[in-house]
Symmetry: C2
Subunit: 301 residues, 2 copies
């Protein structure tokens, strides 16, 4: 049976620790709660979808270290297929140490990409991409992402890009993307300016059906090819940890696409998923079920 | 054959990563060099001695996780005996993520003690303590430290305390210590003041033969029972990482005690060990051999 969603990108192993306050330079901080958990933008978006019973497979590569083994077992435990997750012998996995500030939920991410090599063109199996409904990319495997987006475009598969940082090869990818959901940093880098409204227009000129720029606690701004434009607020919650909020937003957004919802409903659903995610330490711990999101949204104005 | 030095205290697994600059709150920082290495005050002091061909054994406990296995194998690889290093089933080891700032060598330590239990009184084998020449404590296993210090005192074994933080039970330990080598923080906490000279006198009133307070790049201050008092400068070196400097200072200090050197020579040797340690990322990577310390000191004024 084909997977509804194929994700391609980076997966990482996260070590998260809660600090009372983010320490000044040259200091020591004892961690309160500590959590070991898989992470990475595309991988965590797929976990979000898996919790809502959407069939997903992840294309990427880990090292053959302990962290790589745990990345894989973490995805499998969530029901994300790993038949396309390769292992690079003798190489190390991406990992991050994430210090989460108690009270504010603000987090500092110290990360390394590890030595495991990015996927090459020849390692992309076109079959799951051709037969899926949505291809989700996080732009962190550039060569493979470009190849996968071309396969998807030819097969009429919807493409979504999670843009965190605008890199040198990103421009080539943009014309192949249907839904661009990017960070404020990405938007401003892509447009060389500091005016978010102008950035939305400029990103839309690359051809996607819709562009959404997420601006953290200030919510998100969306502009569609049809000229629909709206702001979605960030839902207020008692925030424990904002790690992975963007990743989960993407998972929720793709869920909306799969349901065929209109854009405004899709973005509102995504915002609710991201808000609920912040309830606990870890990028994945508090990712909601479908029922939780529905209950939450029914309680909102 | 008895071990010359018994160390009792905490051992940890360190994940070290170099950052261009210590990041502001709520930011991401990509790590340059990354290193996985055993650490912990008493454990790293023993590694320092082992590199100088001194026989050492470590009393402590790790969890039965990957980190615990690596803590043990790291000590064994350095020639530190682990016959007295226990494993706590189903519990986790202490670990730290250490962000080291490029250029300055300043480091931020995010640490957790893990769930492995401290050693209890009944778990202390008195035999290696009675037969050693120096017992080194880092004060992080309080109940066991007190028991071990009593055994050492009865057997006429010299005791050294690495005091990092003055804890509630620390006062009980002080009368059993011969050489107190403590951080500025410990000294000021112990004396409730902010005047280092006064702290030296007050710490000496607990009965040790000598007190040394280390003050980082400003060197150290020493006061002995015989009234000898001196300042030792920190030797200038191109600092890559200051992690473990204090631990290595202790190792060098104990080496001097074993040689029967006078106090001033002992502290100068310890300062050289600590300076040379800073040459590379990691608490243990650049711990010098005896020949390296001797060469270094012969080049100094």
């Amino acid at each position: 049976m084909p997977f509804a969603v194929v994700g391609l990108g980076q997966c990482a192993y996260d070590i998260l620790g809660r600090v009372d306050a983010y320490p000044a330079v040259d200091a020591k901080a004892e961690l309160g709660e500590v959590l070991f958990q898989g992470g990475g933008p595309a991988a965590t978006a797929l976990v979000t979808l898996a919790r809502m019973d959407i069939g997903t497979t992840f294309l990427g590569r880990v090292g053959d270290d302990d962290f790589g083994a745990r990345i894989r077992s973490g995805l499998l435990a969530e029901g994300v297929d790993c038949g396309n997750l390769l292992t690079d012998p003798g190489r190390t996995s991406q990992f991050a140490f994430i210090a989460v500030e108690h009270g504010s939920g603000r987090r500092n991410i110290f990360w390394t990409r590890g030595s495991a090599r990015p996927l090459s063109l020849s390692e992309i199996d076109p079959a799951p991409i051709r037969s899926c409904r949505v291809l989700h990319l996080d732009g962190l495997q550039q060569e493979a992402s470009l190849a996968a987006a071309r396969i998807a475009r030819e097969a009429g598969v919807t493409t979504v890009l999670d843009g965190g940082t605008f890199r040198s090869g990103t421009a080539d990818l943009l014309p192949l993307i249907d839904h661009l959901v990017v960070s404020e940093k990405f938007a401003l880098q892509a447009c060389g300016g500091n005016e978010p409204r102008r950035a939305l227009e400029k990103l839309l000129s690359h051809g996607p059906r819709a562009v959404t720029v997420t601006v953290g606690a200030r919510g998100s701004h969306t502009l569609s090819r049809e000229g629909e434009e709206f702001h979605q607020r960030a839902f207020p919650v008692d925030t424990v940890d904002t790690t992975g909020c963007g990743d989960v937003f993407h998972g929720g957004y793709i869920y909306g696409l799969l349901q065929g919802w209109e854009l405004r409903r899709t973005v509102r659903f995504a915002a609710a998923c991201a808000a609920l995610k912040t309830r606990a330490l870890g990028g994945r711990t508090a990712i909601p079920t479908l029922a939780e999101v529905e209950n939450f949204l029914s309680e909102q104005a």
